[in-house]
């Protein structure tokens, strides 16, 4: 048995002749947690997958390097040897718990599979072991859940099942690839606690891959920083965070969204207010089924003032996006919605259309929010065609160019298609599409969540500049409290469709009143799980 459970030397990875990872070397000792940090495309996941030799090897090569798992070379190992390493010595947990579990098999079968293959266990034995594992990962009512299918579990529960599967053979090394990115903050804190606890109890080493510096700081003993396929810095966690040496690490650490919202007049005129808005979805299927309804938004009243940001925070399923959709009249709702003094609830599509330019929206996913077959110019000018039909094509083109400049893009790129832009650039295009109509209000639905942190900070700065310049009102929806803190003047905390807490954002951040808000803050800023925060 070697002291080093994993040792990677000069590893390079090549896809179809493109080198995506260059000369990466690091190691993990037994019982140690190492954080592998980098932005998307930095090669961190690819490096982790190569440990398990899970890359598509039809067109992948390792030009140089070796990977030693417990002293045994993995590169070039035959299928049988790899089977032994995968699952037995190294377990893996993936980011997306919905797609990493087979939707057609119940939990017992999926965990059992690992046990049949690697342990040769019988059905009864496997069942006992599965139950033991599910209890180990803290799945409540494990016995009753054995026969559940993945869709019957919540995201956090699914991630627990994934961890249970990875632990089934008591691996010496657990690789967790963004294990909490898809989860809500309170669940994230619970899963991180669980991983830490399991590591202690089973004397496992943990390779934690993440883009979230907060997570790494809390969990890792040592940190490796990757960018563009190079490992640029590694060292003890504290050292990296307090005195980073490499330029990129410094840049990454400085990129956390920061700053305060711009000063705003609390008595500014109200541009939009909602009065006891409710949105209900009919869950009953079929003609004669009993009526069952889900109240996604329940009697919510909010006020948005000119030049200010109203932040709406809450976990997934809290109804924050549905509320925004209702306010924009993109989904049906009850209750009063007023744009300045005009009631817009109940207006017909035709009557509403001329008012559409006053409220615009920017979505979370910059890949889904731009039509893939229209050029940037066509996307941005679409609104002008509707609301200012008198403009000529050239006039529109000029306006698009200047608005692109305003959001920090090169106007020369206006004939490119969405797939030719990076995520951050796409989000800028989405913002350009919104502001070219000179709206009074922009609804920002998690505009930074899908972006790398350094890009997040840039978008936050851009949004703040635009707000100052155009006196824009924002309705800012996010689960990321750090970003909300940097922008919001007023805050609404939502849970299960109702407002839990509401008030000036400074006040809520410093002295949260309700238990739920406190738990949310603790999970977001300190990554501390508060008991029964969301179970």
């Amino acid at each position: 048995m070697s002291d080093r459970i994993l040792e990677i030397n000069d590893l390079s990875i090549e896809f179809r002749g493109n080198e995506v990872v260059r000369d990466v070397s690091f190691h993990i000792d037994r019982g140690e947690t190492v954080g592998l940090v980098g932005e998307s495309g930095s090669g961190k996941s690819v490096t982790a997958l190569s440990v398990m030799q899970l890359l598509p090897y039809q067109y992948t090569r390792h030009p140089t390097g070796s990977i030693l798992v417990d002293g045994q070379e993995v590169v070039g190992l035959d299928e049988e040897g790899l089977m032994n390493i995968r699952g037995n010595q190294v377990g893996m947990v993936f980011q997306e718990p919905m797609t990493s579990l087979n939707p057609l098999h119940h939990i017992e079968k999926q965990i059992g599979e690992v046990l049949y293959v690697h342990r040769g266990m019988g059905v009864v034995e496997a069942r006992e072991r599965s139950l033991e594992l599910l209890n180990l990962v803290g799945l409540q009512n494990a016995e009753g859940r054995l026969r559940s299918y993945p869709h019957e579990l919540s995201g956090g529960q699914r991630q627990r099942v994934m961890i249970a599967m990875a632990l089934a053979n008591e691996p010496d090394l657990l690789i967790a690839d963004e294990p909490t990115t898809a989860l809500d903050v309170t669940i994230q804190a619970q899963i991180l606690n669980l991983l830490d606890d399991l590591k202690e109890r089973l004397n496992m080493a943990l390779l934690l891959i993440t883009h979230d510096l907060g997570v790494v700081r809390k969990m890792a003993d040592r940190v490796c920083v990757m960018t563009d396929g190079n490992l640029v810095e590694q060292g003890p966690s504290e050292q990296i965070f307090t005195s980073p040496q490499h330029e990129y690490t410094k840049h990454l650490l400085a990129a956390e969204p920061s700053g305060d919202p711009i000063a705003a007049d609390t008595e500014a005129p109200v541009v939009m207010h909602a009065d006891e808005v409710s949105v209900t979805f009919n869950l009953a299927k079929g003609m004669f089924a009993k009526k069952r309804v889900l109240k996604a938004v329940d009697q919510v009243s909010v006020v948005i003032r000119q030049g200010q940001t109203l932040g709406i925070v809450g976990e997934s399923g809290s109804g924050k996006t549905t509320l925004a959709m209702a306010l924009m009249r993109l989904t049906g709702s009850e209750g009063g919605i007023y744009l300045e003094d005009t009631p817009i609830q109940g207006l017909k599509a035709k009557e509403l259309r001329p008012l559409r330019n006053q409220v615009q929206i920017v979505f979370q996913d910059p890949y889904g929010s731009l039509p893939p077959r229209l050029s940037a110019n066509e996307i941005i000018e679409a609104g002008l065609k509707i609301h200012q039909p008198e403009l000529s094509a050239l006039d529109r083109r000029k306006m698009v160019a200047s608005v692109l400049q305003e959001v920090g893009l090169d106007p020369a790129m206006q004939d490119r298609y969405p797939h030719e832009f990076s995520g951050g650039q796409r989000q800028r295009i989405a913002i350009a599409r919104a502001i070219i109509l000179q709206p009074k209000i922009i609804v920002l639905d998690e505009p930074t969540s899908a972006l790398d942190i350094s890009v997040q900070a840039q978008i936050v700065d851009l949004l703040r500049d635009l707000q100052r310049k155009h006196n824009l009102a924002y309705l800012f929806i996010s689960h990321d409290l750090k970003v909300v803190r940097a922008l919001a003047h007023e805050l609404v905390v939502m849970k299960d469709g109702v407002i839990v807490e509401q008030g000036p954002s400074e006040q809520i951040f410093t002295e949260p009143e309700t238990q739920y808000t406190k738990a949310l803050m603790a999970a977001a800023f300190d990554l501390e799980a508060v008991e029964h925060a969301s179970q």
Partner: protein
């Protein structure tokens, strides 16, 4: 890459901007390159295109009128214009029958000459000077022989090919328009519209199509337009499922919501934002639809319920082949024409499908 702040180009002067020249989008270029890379589909497209273009000029290839004739110092173009026999000193005021010896004599008398097309028979020309009994075997005079009423098979195939292709294209075009409209409406609005639409489509598709067409065509004198309409009644469902699925998938995408937030009308959203996505699936389907349409027309003709007598029809040629087993050139000519045409179309369809497949384009 993503971490560098986007460069604001301060030197960019908006005032002097001009409209860019229209260009083919890079995606289209890449697809065309992919299509070209697959030699089989590419050459098939060339072959079928050349055959189509040639057949569109069928009157200049196979006709019972001369291309050019000179009569008493003047030039005449009988293929393009109709001249009465009196023009050449004849007695009838009807159009001159240039194949008749009398008219040929008139022109010779008028110190003239005639240039005949490659095949001096039209699809309905009955050759009165056949060497033997009809159907006549292939010879230098009739390359593929004649059918049982002494009409030239080569000429009939050229005209029949044209009619089949045009009919297939027209049927596909109108089926596609109806299918896309119905599929798009169902998919975009969803809910009750979709539910009812889908049931109607299912019931309609369940009807015994061939028998209904036979009944309908026997009700009135069939002509190509009427036949097209009758076939259209049962042919439009092909694309509904594909387009509907694409619209159902896309209608809740963020960019559709963003378009609604801009105030776009439903129709614009369907046409501009969603339809381009559905077009890949649709275009991939089209060559196969053309194939199906041609086959349907041919089988109706074969059964005798299709185009009325007198039209150059490949199905009728096959039926003659069946009726005249002793004259195998009839059946073989019809068979090879259809086989080659349909095979080429399938190859083109495969090429299009592969060119549009994003997974294959990476190679």
């Amino acid at each position: 890459m993503a971490s560098t702040p986007a460069q604001a180009t301060d030197g960019y002067v908006v005032d002097t901007m001009e409209m860019p020249k229209w260009e083919i989008s890079p995606l289209t270029k890449r697809r065309w390159a992919n299509f070209k890379a697959k030699k089989r589909g590419y050459y098939s497209l060339w072959a079928i295109s050349i055959m189509m273009v040639l057949s569109f000029f069928a009157e200049f290839i196979a006709n019972d009128k001369p291309l050019v004739l000179k009569y008493e110092g003047e030039m005449y173009f009988p293929v393009l214009f109709s001249y009465p026999e009196t023009e050449f000193g004849g007695v009838f005021e009807t159009e001159a029958v240039y194949r008749s010896e009398a008219v040929q004599q008139f022109i010779e008398d008028g110190d003239g000459w005639m240039v005949w097309p490659l095949i001096p028979f039209s699809f309905d020309t009955i050759d009165l000077n056949t060497a033997g009994a009809v159907p006549e075997a292939p010879s230098a005079r009739h390359w593929l022989g004649t059918d049982d009423v002494a009409r030239d098979v080569t000429a009939r195939i050229i005209y029949g090919f044209r009619l089949s292709v045009l009919f297939g294209l027209a049927l596909t075009f109108f089926s596609a328009i109806i299918g896309i409209t119905v599929g798009a409406t169902q998919g975009y609005f969803g809910g009750l519209v979709d539910l009812i639409g889908q049931r109607v489509v299912e019931i309609w598709a369940g009807l015994p199509m061939l028998f209904l067409i036979i009944i309908l065509t026997s009700l009135f004198e069939p002509n190509p337009i009427a036949l097209l309409l009758v076939l259209l009644l049962f042919n439009w469902m092909a694309l509904v499922a594909v387009v509907r699925a694409e619209f159902l998938r896309t209608r809740n995408f963020d960019y559709v919501n963003a378009a609604k937030a801009l105030g776009e009308k439903d129709f614009t959203i369907m046409m501009k934002y969603i339809l381009p996505n559905a077009m890949v699936a649709t275009l991939t389907f089209l060559p196969f639809l053309v194939n199906g349409s041609i086959t349907t027309l041919t089988s109706l003709d074969f059964l005798g319920f299709g185009l009325p007598a007198g039209y150059p029809s490949l199905g009728e040629l096959l039926a003659q082949g069946k009726a005249n087993i002793q004259a195998p050139w009839l059946g073989l000519a019809g068979f090879f024409t259809l086989a080659i045409m349909l095979t080429l179309l399938v190859f083109v369809g495969e090429g299009v499908r592969d060119a549009f497949d994003p997974r294959r384009s990476a190679t």
